[in-house]
Amino acid sequence: MSLIQRHTAGEVSPANGTTHEVETTVKSNTPVNGEYRLLTLDAPQSVLDCQPGQFFHILCPVTTTEQPYLRRPMSIYGYSAEKGELQFLYKVTGEGTRALATLAKGDRLNVLGPLGVGFTIQDDWQNLLLLARGVGLATLAPLAQEAQRLNRKLVAICSARNADVLMSIDHFKSLGAEVITVTDADGTSDLENLRAIIEGRIADQGVDAMYTCGSNRMLKLLQEIGATHNIPGEIALEQQMACGLGMCQCCVRSFNREGTITQERVCREGPVFGIEEAMAW
């Protein structure tokens, strides 16, 4: 039985008709550490009615050396209708993100969004737990903002290779989240320690819902813990995308829905799915 009531393919209407292809202006595009950059855009109101977990599909610039063609999906890291601002936290990996990294204040950037179905925070979920590593922080960060708005308790377990590349700790703290950091360097990021930390939270404060992003290891861990303690959870998934809108059917993943394997589009039925239905890959 599905623990969380989710949209099914038939009744999806993501972004409530608020998806737009718009031109934005770069406010800043600054390195966060050696690998990650934070991009802040001046964006029109039409695209700022966002949900945590939704994403934008970004048309990266073309330069003499970098010529990305398809758009690149990026989770919303921050959004503020008041400030007219949209933020992305991205890792420079290939052609598209290298091109993004060349953007300077005042440059224009075409973005499409907000897209997809974001995270759920049900009314009776008071104690939230999120488990993030690497770029997953970008996806999970707005959940802290929403938790604060809804007056819920949030503990963020942030994992990284070492302390230098731990990101967004202050961001989470400023949004009232409790932060637990674990790193490979300290030997605190292994699965068994994570399990112990989470089990401890469940025993002490209680956990009503768990959120994570990306990794197979974390998915399996939270699936096990969730099944044992009957705690629902959600995961944001990634897949290669072309259209981002649900048209091309390239971004499917398999889900186990009450014993049947179905294929759902990450861009449309997702990117956020129930932890119990997601399948390790």
């Binding site: 737009h20 897949q239 091309c248 449309r268």
Partner: protein, 314 residues
């Protein structure tokens, strides 16, 4: 005021811009006003439910993309119950794309989708013919004739045959389709291609190979559209790599009476409507009253007899 309307056989479209099959769905209505399109062309469906190909199903190549989606399909009944009613809320001709692995199956689904609310059927004959050697129907004139004749007797609706750029016999296949009763040709589908991830040494597509679409395909599909328009009497609908109004004008001059826009919609979801506005302006500023004045206006007199021998260009 310019007249943007165009005739595809018995069917009149308000304007020549429509989506290419597989690059369009109900979902685009979130971004774009679907009323403005010349026609709605649906993703190819098959009679049976199908899962589609393994992921990754797309990858990027220099300035274009490859895909190998594999026609996942909810089956024809789901389509009739859900998709046709959705599009019938619009006053725009609905073109349904179908496919099958054998000529008889193909005829069967053709009959099944010949229902009220469908204005034309696009037959995607670029899929493998499993009764023969697995090559797509549209690879050879003989298999094109065989399948088109069965399709013709299965429906009274206009049939648009969608050709493949993988064949070495474009003109022969086009003539075979016309002869067997096609009402129009859609030129063309994607071109078989490959990309390998040099780090993992694995093919970038789960299915190993896939079809090239986007700007790289344009000069090839334009050549085919031109060859077809020169060879057949039925209308040719240009498709392949269109992303600017100049691209559309080029196809029209080459002889296409309408065009389909595919991959460009992935890059700019609004592009079909943007292009429509630009096309209108283009005609206006050049005092071209009717779109049809542009169609086939290529000035190829000088070189006309070279065409025959230009099967290859070393």
């Amino acid at each position: 005021m310019v007249n943007l309307s165009t005739k595809i056989g018995s069917l009149t479209l308000a304007n020549p811009i429509m989506p290419a099959s597989g690059t369009f769905s109900e979902d685009l209505s979130e971004v774009l006003d679907l009323h403005q399109l010349g026609a709605h062309v649906t993703k190819t469906i098959t009679a049976e439910k199908r899962g589609g190909n393994p992921t990754p199903r797309v990858c990027e190549v220099r300035g274009s993309m490859l895909n190998s989606i594999g026609i996942p399909s909810k089956g024809v009944q789901h389509f009739i119950d859900n998709t046709i009613p959705f599009y019938n809320a619009y006053d725009v001709p609905l073109v349904v794309s179908i496919s099958a692995n054998s000529a008889d199956e193909f005829a069967r689904i053709c009959e099944q989708v010949s229902v009220p609310g469908v204005a034309a059927i696009e037959v995607n004959i670029s899929c493998p013919n499993i009764e023969e050697d697995g090559k797509a129907f549209a690879m050879r004139p003989s298999t094109t004739t065989a399948v088109m004749e069965k399709l013709r007797s299965a429906s009274d609706l206009p049939l648009w045959a969608k050709l493949s750029p993988n064949t070495g016999e474009t003109i022969e296949v086009a003539l075979a389709a016309e002869e067997a009763g096609a009402d129009a040709l859609v030129v063309a589908n994607t071109l078989l291609s490959m990309a390998i991830d040099i780090h993992t040494r694995k093919p970038k597509l789960g299915n190993l190979m896939g079809g090239l679409s986007g700007p790289s395909l344009k000069p090839i599909a334009l050549r085919m559209a031109y060859q077809c328009a020169k060879s057949v009497q039925i209308p040719v609908i240009g498709c392949g790599g269109i992303s600017t109004v100049e691209d559309i004008v080029e196809y029209l001059i080459a002889g296409a009476t309408a065009v389909q826009v595919g991959t460009a919609t992935f890059i700019n979801p609004n592009i079909m409507v943007t292009l429509l506005g630009q096309l209108e302006t283009y005609l206006e500023t050049r005092n071209i009253a009717n779109l049809s004045d542009l169609v086939g206006s290529v000035r190829d007199e000088d070189a006309a007899d070279a065409v025959v021998f230009m099967e290859t260009a070393p």
